[in-house]
């Protein structure tokens, strides 16, 4: 048996390991307890934040105790850690920037877990907020990692911040249609749909006289949760109502002229002509 492998030295190695294992166990348990306690009292986002705070605090204390048990001087270690931090800071500026951006995000709280956001051209549900990055799950189930620095620098749109949203549907009708009747049909559709909010009131704008149609905008409010479904339901209903009422939804028209204004294109049929 080597000389250093005595019971005393083994104990010196084992004790910190036991402290670390105990700390990890305690941190996990306490974190879960805090999260469970927060259910119903805190938002999902706050509960996760508190869980992490408790977890890392307890784990940090356990690591410090473990190092102390091994004979390390915490004060010396912290001093060394300071110097190391400066060195690492130069080497890992991006990570440090992300960490600091993450702290700003935590303080500002532009979104929470479960919110649906758009950032840097990417849309998705927030499934994780960490010190370095935010994790999104897109509608087609892609896992997207967005660095915190990007979130601080670019525009972030939060689609679930407010419980109600306005839907603007562009609708084109033929020039020959009675616009009063079109208005009445569209507003009746929205009125009959219980998912469309009665207040704020729905309205219709005449956007422009387009190339092939009179372009209208039907605007109404819905619950944020129902947005996609109601949009589809109302569009189905618009098509069915227009078919029922004989209102034409035009498609782009192109008129061809052969040199002379308004004159038809001359068409001639020649018999016994050789095929090219």
């Amino acid at each position: 048996m080597p000389e250093w492998m005595t019971l005393e030295t083994l104990g010196l190695w084992l004790r910190p390991l036991v402290w670390m294992a105990l700390g990890l166990f305690l941190a996990t348990m306490l974190g879960r307890m805090v999260e469970r306690f927060g259910q119903g009292r805190l938002t999902r986002h706050q509960a996760v934040l508190f869980r992490r705070l408790v977890f890392y605090t307890v784990l940090g204390i356990a690591v410090a105790l473990a190092l102390q048990q091994s004979g390390f001087q915490i004060g010396v270690l912290l001093g060394a850690a300071g110097i190391l931090t400066v060195a690492l800071g130069f080497a890992s500026q991006t990570s440090a920037s992300n960490v600091i951006s993450g702290l700003f995000l935590l303080a500002e709280r532009p979104f929470e877990l479960g919110h649906f956001i758009e950032v840097d051209g990417v849309r998705g549900e927030v499934v994780g907020i960490d010190l370095l990055s935010v994790k999104l799950r897109s509608l087609d189930n892609l896992y997207i990692r967005v660095p915190n620095e990007t979130l601080i620098k670019t525009r972030v749109t939060n689609f679930t911040r407010f419980p109600v949203r306005r839907l603007d549907l562009p609708i084109g009708v033929a020039y020959g249609e009675d616009l009063e009747k079109v208005n009445a049909v569209l507003l009746a559709l929205v009125d009959e749909n219980p998912d469309c909010l009665e207040e704020p009131e729905p309205f219709i704008y005449l956007q422009q006289f387009g190339a092939s149609s009179v372009d209208l905008q039907l605007s109404f409010w819905v619950r944020g949760l129902d947005l996609r479904r109601v949009r589809s339901d109302v569009m189905f209903a618009v098509k069915a109502a227009f078919d029922r009422e004989g209102i034409e939804i035009p498609f782009p028209h192109t008129s061809l002229y052969a040199g002379q204004h308004s004159a038809p294109i001359p068409v001639a049929i020649h018999q016994h002509q050789d095929k090219p």
């Binding site: 009665e198 207040e199 704020p200």
Partner: protein, 278 residues
Amino acid sequence: MAQPQSSSGTDGPIAAWGESVPLSPGDTLRNGLSDMTLSVTLLAHEWQVRVARHPGAREETAWHQWCDSALPEHDEGLERFARGNEAPRVALRPALADLPLIVRPNHPLHLPPGTDTTIYMSTLVWLQLMVGEDRRLMEVPVRQPSWTWMGADTMEGELCYASLTAARLEPDNLPRRPWRAMSAVRLRHEGDDYLTLDRFSFPAPIMPLFRQSEPGVDGAHSLWTPTLSIRCERDLATASLKVEATPPPEAGPCTALAPARQPVERNHLVRTMDRIFG
């Protein structure tokens, strides 16, 4: 306890609101309530509930309930619930809406200063399907209510249900429909000028529900809520609200049927009062 009918008679309900109907395996209890058909079938190991809606132009006034031994012909809106050891009995328990209702009179009503005005209105109820002793299978509104928003702007406020009312001033003119809870809203206006009532918030979740002790001519017991008192000291911004303990005298003798969904907490009441008129 009411006994189920084996025929398909449609002369009003078999059981009053909240009273249970005993069923045998294979029996179906059918309910025609306005635009909704609600069928509950008892099988050996499961409950089958079918909810079908066929919106019509006019709201009917009669509640048709009957029991037979045939399975429904369709599976529209079918939901199945595994049976526990509960007794083979089912009851329909009405409840008020789970969110406040924004009630809008068909036409604005102007209230003169220094007067007490009582308007009579009715609101849709939700039906809780209770089986056995008191186990809730599901809950459905008799008609799907429209959503609306109550708040100063679209950032601050809350989602509510929308409800229209004729704001009748004579209780006898209020149409009796079994699936609507009737309410008296007493408005005390102490200001100096006319007050225009174009909408107000009806705090349904904090109101209990009562049932008339005697059935009406249609065989159903009318539902009533306690009187709601709204007092405006100067204008709409200074309004305060109070839910009385009992329905108005016009309701006649009533018995408590369902407690309020939410206990009346002071904070909630204050919040409700903040948004009585939007």
